[in-house]
Amino acid sequence: IMCASAKYNTRGPALIPRMKTKHRIYYITLFSIVLLGLIATGMFQFWPHSIESSSDWTVEKRSVHDVPVVKLPADSPIPERGDLTCRMHTCFDVYRCGFNPKNKIKVYIYSLKKYVDEYGTSVSNTISREYNELLTAISDSEFYTDDVNRACLFVPSIDVLNQNALRIKETAQALAQLSRWDRGTNHLLFNMLPGGPPDYNTALDVPRDRALLAGGGFSTWTYRQGYDVSIPVYSPLSGEVDLPERGPGPRRYFILSSQMALHPEYRLELEALQAENGESVLILGRCTNLSDGVPAVRKRCYKNQVFDYPQVLQESTFCVVLRGARLGQAVLSDVLQAGCVPVIIADSYILPFSEVLDWKRASVVIPEEKMPEMYSILQSIPQRQIEEMQRQARWFWEAYFRSMKAIALATLQIINDRIYPYAAISYEEWNDPPAVKWSSVSNPLFLPLIPPQSQGFTAVVLTYDRVESLFRVITEVSKVPSLSKLLVVWNNQNKNPPEDSLWPKIRVPLKVVRTAENKLSNRFFPYDEIETEAVLAIDDDIIMLTSDELQFGYEVWREFPDRLVGYPGRLHLWDHEMNKWKYESEWTNEVSMVLTGAAFYHKYFNYLYTYKMPGDIKNWVDAHMNCEDIAMNFLVANVTGKSVIKVTPRKKFKCPECTAIDGLSLDQTHMVERSECINKFASVFGTMPLKVVEHRADPVLYKDDFPEKLKSFPNIGSL
């Protein structure tokens, strides 16, 4: 609750005029002002040409050519050059971002203007299609704010994506006159093609002072780690060509080079590779004799063969991405889209989004010096890994390359993560493709710990009104050496628990919790009274477990603290006739579940059961008064990916009270219900998480020919 109320909201909402005055005179003045305003507006209507240019109001139907024109005097200030020592803590004003409960930065976009110099010549193209898409994406995102006072980050609408399409000095002047420029503090510029002939700088040459740069071609010398963001060079082909994802696997060519303008030196090296390795290496080039009307950019040629680009990229396992005059290459995007593994040869290049993306999983980076060894290096990569890289490459494209929107949002998220690091997106979320996210598990109890024995366990007994049997259970369980506390969950609202004096006297604290409603899920509630990690859930009629059996169960749990450790095991089977899951309680050679009538597990799973159970399972169980144990088995297996551990030979809980009243038919309906539960849960989880195993845990010397009195757990009960 504390967190929701933002205590440190440094910038409150803008002042809203308060209208509580009663004086009529105010009304009258107000009306007159409104009136005047209306008349003025009406007048404007007959003044057709000045309206659009003198106001920056947003009108849905407006052309880019109608935006206001700003004339830059020749002597207007120019920002300092980019400061290479800038880091978030030196050049970024965090106070603008503040602490907010959503942990989201607010981004303001300056309105679009057309900049001209003194002579009326324009400084650059007003805006490119891509930059417009990018700004639209930001403005539609959660990051956007239109309130310049609340903004943490400012994005100028001055398009600097391509340095060649702008005049450097004048663009810098245009930046400097932005209303909140303030030496570029908290301003973010997007640039994909930096530098120009002859030296091709690796970062935008426009002087920009402290502004952050999202650039597409940084080298390690220009990239300010933790300040700038390295972004891809967008390939407009992505929007034009639809390349369906191709399944991983071997492809026609091993190495493909598709770039049109390679430096002759690189080309020679590639040709040497081809000469050595034959047909598996394909080096494409520009087509010289294409008929008119065929766009050269969509074709590639090798000798007389013509190939479609980018489709041909899907024919190869690896695709070479060599640096050109610039480090960042649009072909990288095409290659990823084709699911071809990029072989990146561009020394000192900062790969796109390298702050968060693990490129080792999707690409092979080879130093320029090692180009001659490229073939053998690639050959040494295991096939299974190549397939994964192909999938990963495609996923990177889909998530972070495919549109200007994807690029914009990833950039903002990276900056957001720096400002709210405790709410940052994890490595897995950035890097795992959906298929891996789906098939993998991240165990919340991943550290291999064997909890200290001294901690003991808390027994939680769920009871309704079987007091006599409950007291017997309490007495029996209290004999277990490692019991540290006993918690009785009194699930009967119509009856009070027995008086204190009537309860059995035991050596550990005994607490009674009364519940508000008779629900099965009360058994798995994370009561504050449970102070140990280990919980023993036990029914109020389980009196047949020996003290040795329980103590041994606890010892086994200590070795497997992230699993359910129980006594009777159960199995799920696929019923081929009915085409659905079936519950099996027969004596089988396998187990996939344990009953929670008596089972040890980690208290953390109580949290998961109570607060994180998927779908409506929890309510469903409470409504049907059945299958809470199966739900728990599903939950634990799903989150850990591990099987249960069945301990000792015990196969069922025989309760003396329940004499077999028409046992058979009861059994039948019971089995049907339980099978239904399994099918229901499997559909809610979207998978069958239960793991089938063939083993159970026994004490080391169980049934060995060895004196019983020397065994730690001699009294391991019968079936």
Binding site: M260, I366, E369, N589, P649, V693, H695
Partner: protein, 759 residues
């Protein structure tokens, strides 16, 4: 009044009407006068001609990318070499890769010069390198060089400061402008600015330095190391303090700090503000003004009261009982506090702007620490309060993972530094960020074994792989006779009958050549014979012939039935990172003799599974041979029956978990088998295969005075030497055995899958 109002309304409506007639379009703008709310809808406009806009670069321009007739790549790289030096060094400009090609990654330490003592800490660093598997004594084959001059403390006011370093290094013929050198440093600069300069020119050497600031850090070239005290253990190291995963964290405090408050000078900005967040309940921030000689000169009104509060509480107690610990900058950026908090599983809240975090090239600190901003100190309490309990739990576990994998000893810190550099040499054979930040940590994952994570035993669940469905039976043969022994023939038959067996590999460890292929039994699976070198550690060489994830390691005189093998394999598939096997032994601490003992007697516990009959992952062969230094393998070759203890110790050190015992039918080795041994082992090598079976009642006492006793004591000695080498006892005990679900149950044999195990 009434009429006036009426008039006003009338005019209002009239103009409204007028406006509506003439400019419906303008009406929407009118809304802007009525307040902010309407303006909130103002987004980036949808331009009418947005589809006509030109692309930022035309396709041709993008694909051609500039002029190919520019500077040739070779010339450009040559030009870089002269431009990007010293403060702008990168691996491609300041490091000579060619030195590492021929002999691989080898590290040479300059010989210690007389009269040139090094500090205790630098001594530890040097000996860590000398203990590493990359060490070489030959500068010719070295790829990386380490100075013998102590460069750790470069505060010239310090007693450990070494003078005239410049002069000395210029005298080294190998120095070569610092190329391929690695320089360690913990303290640089001095009062008052504590700048990063070392007082000598490091040239093109890689700098591994504590408290590195992002400005002077050369990315991809330098390495930031943690600050550690001179008491930091050489090897092994204490484990972390997290013993239980409590949810919610059962800690007395949420956030603590106890330390000096600088009244003036660098770092005082943050240190002087820390007391503001103290609330006396769950946030404790205690400061003292007492430091330096003249603190009283700067003393302010808080000092006296603060000093009293400060004395009252104990740093260790706070460390143990808090969920988060503030780790602010000191005079320098890093502090001892960082590692202390990490070990204590007290999640570090870093307030040290511009600190290049230790090993950040490999470690994802966002998973283990809260990287705060010094400027936003006052937001820290609410920020940490808002972190969900699940995330706290994950943070705590990650601190322990990192502490144990990279920081708990000088060895680990130094080896991590070396591995990071090694990974840069061949980026395509390096560890991904995932590997560095997942169990068991990057040092234990050898990229030379494979770069595919599915080939390792550790990542099956996390990445959705599963271990291979077949195993390789690997039999070590020591029979001396030219023919095959009976037990071995039976073993081959039993094993090859298993439906999960993919192949059989026999390691022929005897002087006489193996029998011709015609003499070997006909099996349904391929059988390969490898000639061994007759060293005991041979059996754990990473043989190419082993193709499956699972290896069933066997001695020739082991007796196993097919169903035992099948069952054990099904268990191994559930625990692919552990050793799963049949005969077991256990270790214990002998307080009387003050050393580790072990017993092969039947006990209620186990911690060693004999590799005479055990399943394990094939990666452990590589780890055994490549990861362990040669010295340790030599030690094992010199002792009888030590190699399988080493294997168990190694796997336990990796997994932190006990091995798994599965049920066994009867005793495993037949007495008869022990006759056939090659007694003509290499000089100094005790006869292999003569190990005493863990037969019932074969208590060590009974063996006294026999050959078994010698073996037993050697084995015990082995255990102690290994514990010493690892710096702790990695073995973990287990109290359980895994049996088939219906094992010895009173049900019909027909229902049981593994009935023969009960005979």
């Amino acid at each position: 009044m009434q009429t006036r109002k009426k008039y006003i309304f009338l005019t209002f409506f009239a103009s409204w009407l007028l406006l509506f007639l003439f400019g419906g379009d303008q009406l929407r703008r009118f809304a802007f006068f009525s307040g902010r709310k309407a303006e909130a809808r103002r987004n980036w406009p949808r331009w009418t001609d947005r589809f006509l806009l030109k692309s930022f670069a035309d396709a041709e321009e993008l694909q051609r990318d500039g002029d190919p007739s520019l500077l040739s790549p070779r010339e450009r790289r040559a030009a870089w070499l002269s431009v990007y030096r010293s403060s702008r060094c990168r691996m491609e400009t300041c490091f000579d890769f060619s030195r590492c090609e021929k002999h691989g990654f080898k590290v040479f330490t300059y010989p210690q010069e007389r009269g040139q003592p090094v500090s205790e800490t630098y001594g530890k660093i040097l000996s860590s390198i000398e203990r590493s598997r990359y060490h070489t004594a030959n500068p010719e084959e070295a790829c990386l060089f380490i100075l013998s001059i102590d460069t750790l403390d470069r505060d010239h006011l310090s007693g450990q400061y070494v003078r005239n370093v410049d002069e000395k290094i210029r005298g080294f013929p190998l120095w070569n402008g610092g190329r391929n050198h690695l320089i360690f440093n913990l303290y640089s600069g001095t009062w008052p600015d504590y700048a990063g300069d070392l007082g000598f020119d490091i040239g093109q050497a890689i700098l591994a330095k504590a408290s590195f600031d992002t400005e002077s850090f050369r990315p991809g070239f330098d390495i930031s190391i943690p600050l550690f005290s001179k008491d930091h253990p050489q090897r092994g190291g204490d484990r972390g303090w997290l013993y239980q995963d409590s949810v919610p964290p059962r800690k007395k405090y949420l956030l603590v700090f106890k330390g000096k408050r600088y009244l003036t000078g660098i770092g005082s900005g943050t240190r002087n503000a820390l007391h503001h967040i103290h609330n006396g309940k769950d946030i404790i921030s205690l400061t003292t003004c007492k430091h330096g000689k003249d603190w009283e000169k700067h003393k302010d009104t808080r000092c006296d009261k603060d000093n009293i509060d400060y004395e009252r509480s104990d740093y260790q107690e706070l460390l143990h009982n808090s969920t988060f610990c503030i780790v602010p900058r000191g005079r320098r950026l890093g502090s001892f506090r960082f590692l202390e908090a990490l070990q204590a599983a007290c999640i570090p809240v870093l307030l040290s702007d511009g600190w290049e975090l230790p090993f950040a090239e490999a470690i994802d600190w966002g998973k283990a620490a809260v990287v705060g901003s010094e400027r936003l100190l006052l937001q820290i309490p609410s920020a940490v309060r808002c972190i969900h309990p699940e995330r706290v739990l994950a943070f705590q576990q990650q601190t322990q993972l990192l502490w144990d994998a990279y920081f708990s000893s000088v060895d680990k810190i130094v080896h991590t530094t070396l591995e990071i550099i090694k990974d840069r040499l061949s980026p395509h054979r390096s560890r991904s960020r995932f590997v560095w930040n997942a169990l068991p940590g990057g040092l234990l994952v050898l990229p030379d074994f494979s770069t595919h994570l599915g080939d390792f035993p550790f990542y099956y669940l996390q990445r959705g792989y599963s271990p291979s469905k077949k195993f390789t039976a690997f039999i070590r043969a020591v029979s001396q006779a030219g023919s095959l022994s009976q037990p071995m023939l039976r073993l081959i038959q039993a094993v090859s009958a298993s439906q999960y067996c993919a192949q059989i590999v026999v390691l022929w460890s005897c002087e006489k050549p193996p029998p011709p292929s015609g003499k070997w039994p006909q099996t349904t699976v391929p059988l390969t014979v490898i000639q061994g070198r007759r060293q005991l550690s041979d059996r754990f060489l990473p043989f190419e012939a082993i193709q499956t994830d699972a290896v069933l390691s066997l001695d020739e005189d082991t007796s196993l039935s097919t169903s035992e093998v099948d069952f054990a394999f099904s268990v191994w598939r559930s625990f692919p990172e552990r050793i799963v096997g049949f005969p077991t032994q256990s270790h214990f601490w002998d307080p009387e003799q003050g050393r580790w003992g072990f017993t092969s007697r039947w006990t209620n516990e186990l911690s060693i599974v004999l590799t005479a009959a055990a399943f394990y992952h094939r990666y452990y062969h590589s780890l055994f041979t490549e990861y362990l230094p040669a010295g340790l393998r030599e030690l094992v070759d010199g002792l009888a029956a030590c190699e399988d203890i080493l294997m168990n110790v190694l796997v336990a050190a990796v997994t932190k978990l006990p091995p798994i015992k599965v049920t066994q039918r009867k005793q495993h080795k037949e007495a008869a088998a022990q006759q056939a041994e090659c007694r003509d082992g290499a000089a100094g090598t005790p006869p292999p295969g003569q190990r005493s079976p863990p037969a019932p009642h074969s208590a060590p006492a009974k063996l006294k005075g026999t050959a078994g006793s010698r073996r037993f004591s050697q084995r015990q000695g082995c255990l102690n030497q290994l514990a010493d080498w690892f710096g702790y006892m990695p073995l973990v005990s287990s109290q359980l055995r895994l049996d088939p679900v219906l094992f010895k149950d009173q049900v019909s044999v027909l229902r049981k899958k593994y009935p023969s195990l009960e005979k």
